[in-house]
């Protein structure tokens, strides 16, 4: 990133010192907390991590409360294309007027302002650009799933994660399941061999209409942006924007990228606005001939599940985002029920983000897996759109970029 004016350079020098202090204070807290946590907290009155929120819509405001509740963060800036959304967030969190950024350039301005970390909760189409802007500006980055909507975007995220590590910054992709100890234990057991070599399995994401019927007009860019969840390009379609939860768990368990996929999709039962599909069906081939059948829907009522079930010769791993996680077979694992993974997972990730910043842990283990699972959704989407088999290599070589029509939007 090009350096800005002298005053900003000066402030950055100051920030580096403060980050060093945060790391040192955090490391001390880890050691001292065992003895007297209250005194440690008191000694760190000035050590809250200063963060800015990019994307002040529904999930942005929801997760902002979780960051606040953690106690180790302080919001100092907010950015959203829409002024009314920034105002709502800014008023709630006491953000000064000059730290509220709007328009398409708002996110970059926020990244370049005086803060420690950025939290990206904007439409997925913008995640790669904003995450990279954060890293280039020297900020720790917390980014919501999906991390991108296309192949170039995924590659940008992968690069941003590596660059963050090189710059000693924390980069965390917020997948709730990967933070859950029961999911982790179950997946670890499969990776260690408890159910044997995987043969095949299934992943499903069944839910009702998530977005309702927002105003959506392809001739009105701002309307599309407000209704990004029902826009194929801005959201990545339901297989990337929502169904990634199931495909992320499946690719985590299989621990490979798929080799090829064939599938189909459509929009038959969805009555609301927008152009996203309402169902997908994809078959994936993974290395060692592991087959995964994937199905999803986003309409109707009667059956909701975010489930993954994979079979090996000695057992079955069975996971449900809103249910239980277990292994049945010769080496069983009782696992347990997910209580409120949607919130608990985010809370765990927020705590992990803080701990990583405080202790200087910058190996950023969520970056590469998030890229792989995101690309897995894109492979399935590409195969479904084309209605024929697509290989991973073809997808990567083509590097297709989705282009949103941003004409008419304010810079």
């Amino acid at each position: 990133m090009t350096k800005q004016g002298g005053s900003k350079d000066d402030s950055r020098a100051g920030r580096m010192d403060r980050r060093g202090f945060l790391a040192a204070a955090g490391a001390a807290a880890v050691g001292l907390a065992i003895v007297r946590p209250q005194s440690v907290r008191g000694a760190e009155a000035n050590s809250k991590i200063e963060i800015g929120l990019i994307g002040c819509g529904g999930r942005g405001n929801w997760i902002a409360d979780l960051f606040k509740n953690h106690g180790g963060y302080q919001f100092v800036a907010g950015a959203d294309y829409f002024a009314d959304r920034v105002k709502g967030f800014g008023d709630k969190f006491g953000i000064p007027a000059d730290r509220r950024y709007t328009g398409l350039s708002g996110a970059r301005k926020l990244c370049e302002s005086k803060l420690d970390a950025v939290v990206i909760e904007s439409p997925p189409y913008f995640h790669p650009e904003q995450a990279m802007a954060g890293v280039e500006a020297g900020r720790h980055v917390y980014v919501a799933k999906p991390i991108a909507v296309d192949v170039p975007g995924c590659l940008t995220i992968g690069e941003a994660g590596k660059k963050a590590t090189a710059k000693k910054l924390v980069f965390l992709a917020d997948f709730q399941t990967r933070a859950d100890p029961i999911y982790r234990e179950a997946v670890k057991r499969v990776h260690n061999g408890d159910i044997g070599r995987l043969v095949n399995g299934e992943a499903v994401y069944y839910c009702g209409d998530t977005w309702g019927n927002p105003t959506y007009d392809t001739k009105n860019a701002e309307a599309c942006l407000r209704a990004w969840g029902v826009d194929k390009v801005l959201s990545g379609d339901i297989i990337t924007e929502q169904n990634i939860h199931a495909l992320d768990v499946a690719s985590w368990i299989i621990d490979e990228a798929p080799l090829r996929a064939v599938g189909s999709c459509g929009r038959k039962a969805r009555s609301g606005s927008g152009n996203v599909n309402d169902h997908f069906a994809v078959v994936y081939w993974f290395p060692n001939d592991v087959l995964l059948s994937f199905a999803s829907k986003q309409y109707g009522q009667g059956w909701d599940d975010i489930g993954v079930r994979l079979f090996g010769p000695r057992g079955t791993i069975d996971t449900h985002y809103f249910g239980s996680v277990s292994i049945k077979g010769e080496a069983p694992y009782a696992g347990g029920a997910m209580k409120n993974l949607y919130t608990d997972g985010a809370v765990a990730n927020i705590a992990e983000f803080h701990k990583s910043i405080a202790t200087g842990k910058v190996d950023n283990p969520t970056a590469a897996p998030s890229v792989r699972s995101n690309l897995t959704t894109i492979l399935g989407r590409t195969a479904a759109y084309r209605g024929k088999e697509v290989t991973w290599d073809e997808m990567m070589k083509a590097g297709e970029k989705l282009e949103a029509d941003l004409r008419g939007l304010k810079a």
């Binding site: 050691g31 065992i34 234990e185 910058v362 283990p365």
Partner: protein
């Protein structure tokens, strides 16, 4: 985080002085001529006493249990010496197959002990506990299909038989012994040389001690059957250095360590952690015992 090539090297002292009685017992069993009676006779002359001290010291230095020294107990079980020392428990951030629960931390083991050079065999189990245990049948195959309580009971019965203390290893003792001074993924270069695991086991256990031992004379630490440990399982290691850790005071599952005939390579790593409900009897889990040394 520490880079992978900056892992603290373990401190590897010999077994502590003061273990003379243990060694003497070993030597006596092997038919050596040094006895306390003979030594007592030498002390009747002052010059002999000086000579005795010199000889005793020399013998002591030569015979104190060291890593690799093996004692054979009354049921034919071989037990290797594991010295006191320090090591880095867990795995570095870059280790292939690493799990978050393996945070590197310094551990001090203050007391030397003896650890079964091999997993308890079905023949040994039969002598101590009576009856055959194991889904796979064979006298020299490791016992499996035993619960944690079964393993503890075996130790208690063996302790009564021999009049000395046998018990399960703690998780820290187990990893310390498995590493035998190494800090990498395995205690040797090529896992196939050291372990029966998924890639070479043909889906079953194998006679114990038929692969290479580690540097301290311990066989099958990376495979054949996984092994019950004494500790309750906790996903998080202590944040700081610890001495003789024994796990949390309570928990839902017990620690199981070491790969098994069914494990993939990553599950056989020195740092790889497993756990199981204590009641489960699985054909993947057996036992290896600690024999405590006199203080």
């Amino acid at each position: 985080m520490r880079p992978s090539n900056d892992v603290p090297r373990p401190v590897l002292p010999r077994c502590a002085p003061g273990r003379w009685a243990e060694v003497r017992r070993d030597k006596a069993r092997r038919g050596t001529r040094r006895t306390s009676t003979r030594a007592a006779a030498w002390t009747s002359h002052p010059a002999s006493a000086v000579l005795l001290v010199l000889v005793w010291t020399a013998l002591h230095a030569a015979d104190a249990p060291r890593p690799g020294d093996v004692l054979t107990n009354s049921i034919g079980m071989k037990l290797a010496c594991v010295p006191a020392g320090e090591f880095a428990m867990g795995s570095p951030a870059g280790e292939k197959g690493r799990e978050e629960e393996e945070a590197l931390h310094r551990v001090k083991i203050t007391r030397p002990f003896r650890l079964g050079a091999a997993e308890v065999t079905q023949a040994q189990w039969k002598v101590v506990s009576g009856g055959r245990r194991g889904k796979f049948e064979g006298e020299n195959l490791p016992v499996e299909d035993i619960s944690w309580a079964d393993a503890v009971a075996f130790c208690e019965k063996l302790s009564k038989m021999e009049g000395r203390k046998y018990r399960l290893p703690t998780e820290a003792e187990w990893e310390y012994a498995c590493r035998a001074g190494t800090a990498g993924r395995f205690a040797g270069d090529k896992l196939d040389d050291f372990a029966w695991y998924d890639a070479n086991s043909d889906g079953r256990t194998h006679p114990v001690a038929t692969k290479k031992p580690n540097a301290w004379g311990l066989y099958d630490m990376h495979g054949n059957v996984a092994e019950w440990c004494a500790d309750y399982y906790a996903p998080a290691y202590p944040a700081a250095s610890v001495t003789d850790p024994a796990g949390p005071p309570e928990g839902k599952a017990r620690v199981v360590r070491g790969g098994s005939w069914a494990s993939f390579e990553r599950g056989c790593r020195s740092a790889s952690r497993h756990s199981s409900s204590a009641a489960y009897q699985l054909k993947f889990i057996g036992v290896r015992v600690v024999m405590e040394l006199a203080p």
